[in-house]
């Protein structure tokens, strides 16, 4: 599979399965909607898209959009507009682990190119591609906001910072083998204290 960044495409697809909110999410939704004034429930579309993406294997299908539109009582095209605007809503299926490599200047100066190469080699997939075993999708993204700890990557919800080729390989290997990883700095730094 090759193509665009999964979050920067205007083409949505169906998953073929019905999407309905999980019990936990229904509870969260109630809470989220209550934060907005009456008549402004549609403002909750962004957190709901996020919840839907979490529940739906990390991507937004047409079914998700239709469910959200129904929940918030808003036109489907309006939900689609929001989902297509933000790059962090994936509009096509992604692998179990979405590897986002920061390529913005600070990380790039500290060698993000090497990290990209290592990841592509280890996961056996190109940028914007999903590996054959559906374990990884690799994308390059702009600044993720951990500049002082570059180069860095984000895998699903976790940041991995202060990377070099070796530590990157280790992280990927651990994921492949199902072993836990140390989250954050790979050099043992706390936050962004002086190295």
């Amino acid at each position: 599979m090759s193509g665009n960044h999964p979050g920067l495409s205007n083409n949505f697809s169906r998953s073929g399965e019905k999407f309905s909110w999980s019990k936990d999410n229904l509870r969260s939704i109630k809470n989220i909607i209550s934060k907005y004034p009456k008549g402004r429930e549609q403002s909750a579309v962004m957190p709901l898209l996020y919840l839907a993406q979490e529940q739906n294997n990390n991507w937004i299908s047409i079914e998700c959009i239709e469910t959200i539109a129904e929940t918030l009582n808003m036109p489907k095209i309006r939900v689609t507009e929001v989902a297509s605007f933000y790059s962090m809503y994936n509009t096509r299926p992604v692998g179990e682990n979405l590897v986002q490599i920061c390529r913005t200047s600070p990380c790039w100066l500290r060698g993000s190119n090497k990290i990209t190469k290592t990841i592509c080699k280890e996961t056996k997939c190109e940028i914007n591609d999903t590996s054959d075993d559906n374990k990884f999708t690799v994308v390059e993204v702009e600044c993720l906001g951990a500049c002082s700890n570059g180069p860095m990557i984000q895998i699903n919800n976790d940041f991995f910072e202060d990377l070099d080729e070796e530590s990157t390989k280790k992280i990927i290997d651990n994921i492949k083998e199902g072993k836990p990883n140390v989250i954050g700095s790979q050099k043992g730094r706390r936050s962004s204290e002086n190295a």
Binding site: F12, A69, E70, K76, I77, S84, F85
Partner: protein
């Protein structure tokens, strides 16, 4: 000086304007033209094209004038070097990704981008990089898309959401990847969708049927009236030689504003299909080609012996109606009928017209729809109800539980649901309630008491007051109100056909009325005057060709009682003759009195007899005359809607290929609204 006025300067000229205006509107009042793409009077303000930049003194940067509110003492400059440079810059950016395909673009010659690039842009491009290309989107059988040309003004998106009331269009992606599309590229389901073509300032959305047909400067413009519903939208018919190539709206703030329905915009290909171009006479159960001389001779002989009845169809203009009445008066009274659908009326004008001026509908805070589906019967009125709905009006519906593009509260299927508790409660609270009763009930009412009760009901709940009459009668036919005003009806107010049966007519003259095919006329000699061969013509003994509304001059009175003129655009097809001239000829031969020799004489005689009709474009004034009965009693009748398929409601649209495509792609494919319901 009033509180609402403030002093500003536009290009050093001091003016006083309303403080609630924007800078752009103030500049327009001062006579300065501001270029724009995204701004449109009838839509919300977006401010995303940046073409309307102006300089405001003391402001560090140029300001987009469409979004900027006025302030006291503001000094606006629209002709400085800085403004010109700003416009040039914006124009250059807009043209970066715009293709240079004007020679093959349908918008060429009437394109805002083309015109403004000429006035405000550079004469050459400095852009060397590749232009982006965008896939074309499906928007249905009416709107053609070439999305590479789109400049993302979002007028179409705002129109669909705010005016048509179908939020199906949107802008996906962002920045260079922004694309306008319908949801999943489905067809737009609105009856007003064609208006996005006029709104689009570039050639991204153009008319599919008009594609590659003509250039605007080759077309002859004729002002006319939409006769496919009763609203009387003002239209402009563009033709070349003897063919109509497109229909566009004319602005009329009192009626259709800037919109027209898709039916009148696109059914013109049906004008030339299945036309009756020569007289026919039935021989051995089969219609065979005849000529005027022979057919009129046969008709004259029949008229000498048989007792005639005239039926008036839905597209008959006032002059023709008057000529028919004049001719039929030689045979006595009560022998002309335009209420061929059993439309119940009282004598007075306010019992069969839309009494609220159309642009006051939006001020109502409670609307009751009684047996009417305005969405498909009269899309323009539906738009006005949608406006009221957006102003927080409540809409109640009685009849069938129809699906509209706004929420209605359904009360039940019979007229007696008017006594619903919730409704009464809401009516008592309402300050400006409005009732629209449609043909679905009007055609079924058999007891005059019911009609009077509706008046009493309206009076009781302040729908009718001394100042206003908000009890409205809505029928979908362009001819009806006018024909009733000149009295082309029999005296049975509720069931006209009942009388016709009793009176034993032997000869039926149908002027475009398909009801000639009704069983009750089986034993009559039938003569059909019309332009399209359909059931009415098929079953007749003589068929005489008459011109279409675009092929003759004529007056139509719209549903609110406003006479308007439809002008002749080209000569009739084949040997069609205007109805009045046929009747004139017959009168001469039968030695009846028929003085007018020309159409103009006929018209001035009509206006002499009915002076209220001569004041074009003004609503006919009427005093609320209907007497109020104390008891309110509704008969039980089942609503039967006159229009079930918007795209095919009359002989002309039934013969239109474009309309057939609409049925296939919009109605037969389940719509977005239905799916979500």
């Amino acid at each position: 000086m009033s509180d609402d006025l403030i002093n500003i300067k536009v290009n050093q000229k001091e003016i006083q304007v309303d403080k609630n205006l924007t800078v752009m509107q103030a500049c327009e009042i001062a006579g300065e033209e501001i270029p724009r793409f995204c701004y449109h009077d009838k839509l919300s303000i977006a401010g995303n094209c940046r073409m309307c930049l102006v300089e405001i003194e003391k402001a560090p940067k140029l300001v987009s004038s469409c979004t900027m509110p006025l302030m006291e003492g503001m000094s606006i400059i629209t002709n400085s070097e800085k403004v010109n440079a700003g416009r040039k810059g914006v124009m250059e950016f807009l043209l970066i990704n715009h293709p240079l395909d004007c020679p093959i673009c349908d918008q060429g010659g009437e394109c805002d981008l083309q015109d403004q690039a000429m006035y405000y842009g550079f004469d050459k491009s400095r852009y060397k990089e590749n232009k982006r290309a965008v896939d074309n989107k499906n928007m249905g059988p009416l709107v053609n898309t070439i999305m590479t040309r789109c400049i993302h003004c979002t007028r179409c998106v705002r129109f669909a959401t705010e005016v048509a009331g179908v939020p199906e269009l949107g802008m996906l992606g962002r920045g260079e990847n922004a694309e306008i599309t319908t949801y999943l590229e489905q067809s737009i389901t609105s009856e007003l969708s064609g208006n996005v073509i006029d709104l689009c300032p570039v050639g991204a959305l153009t008319s599919k049927p008009y594609q590659f047909k003509a250039r605007p400067w080759e077309l002859k413009r004729t002002d006319s009236i939409d006769i496919f519903d009763s609203v009387g939208s003002n239209i402009r018919v563009d033709s070349r030689a003897e063919e109509i190539l497109r229909v566009t709206p004319r602005t009329n703030e009192y009626i259709n504003e800037e919109w027209i329905s898709d039916k009148v915009r696109f059914n013109y290909d049906g004008y030339y299909q299945q036309r009756i171009d020569t007289p026919y006479i039935k021989e051995n159960q089969k219609l065979s080609i005849s000529n005027w001389e022979e057919s009129l001779k046969v008709l004259k002989d029949k008229l000498k012996t048989l007792k005639p009845l005239a039926l008036i169809g839905e597209h008959v203009d006032l002059e023709t109606g008057y000529a028919i009445k004049k001719f039929m008066s030689n045979y006595g009274k009560d022998n002309v009928e335009c209420r061929t659908d059993n439309h119940a009326i009282l004598e007075s004008l306010d019992s069969y017209r839309f009494n609220t001026p159309l642009n006051d509908i939006e001020n109502s805070d409670l609307i009751i729809l009684l047996g009417t589906n305005p969405k498909i019967e009269t899309p323009i009125i539906n738009h006005k109800i949608f406006k009221a709905y957006n102003n927080d009006a409540k809409v109640f519906n009685i009849g069938e539980n129809i699906s509209l593009n706004y929420k209605t509260e359904y009360l039940g299927e019979s007229l007696s649901n008017l006594n619903d508790e919730n409704l009464i409660k809401a009516l008592k609270k309402s300050t400006n309630p409005l009732i629209i009763i449609g043909s679905a009930f009007l055609n079924k009412i058999k007891n005059i008491k019911t009609l009077k009760s509706i008046f009493s009901y309206a009076d009781k709940y302040k729908v009718i007051t001394k100042e206003k009459n908000n009890l409205n009668f809505l029928n979908p036919y362009a001819s009806r109100v006018g024909q009733l005003i000149i009295g082309n009806t029999t005296n049975n107010l509720c069931e006209p056909f009942f009388n016709l049966k009793k009176d034993n007519f032997e000869l039926v003259l149908s002027f475009g009325s398909e009801h000639i095919a009704n069983e009750q006329f089986n034993n009559c000699f039938k003569v059909y005057f019309g332009h399209h061969g359909d059931d009415g013509a098929m079953g007749s003994d003589i068929v005489l060709p008459t011109p279409l509304y675009t092929e003759k001059n004529g007056t139509f009175v719209n549903i609110e009682g406003r006479p308007q003129e439809a002008k002749k655009c080209h000569n009739p097809i084949g040997s069609a003759k205007e109805e009045w001239s046929i009747l004139k000829k017959l009168s001469d031969e039968l030695s009846f009195d028929f003085t007018p020799n020309t159409f103009d004489q006929l018209r001035s005689e009509l206006f002499d007899k009915h002076p209220i009709l001569s004041d074009y474009h003004e609503i006919i004034a009427v005093e609320n005359s209907t007497s109020i009965t104390p008891d309110i009693e509704f008969e039980d009748c089942k609503a039967e809607y006159p229009v079930s398929n918007f795209y095919m409601s009359d002989v002309i649209s039934k013969n239109s290929v474009t309309m057939a495509k609409c049925v296939e792609e919009i109605i037969s494919t389940p719509s977005l609204l239905e799916k979500s319901a």
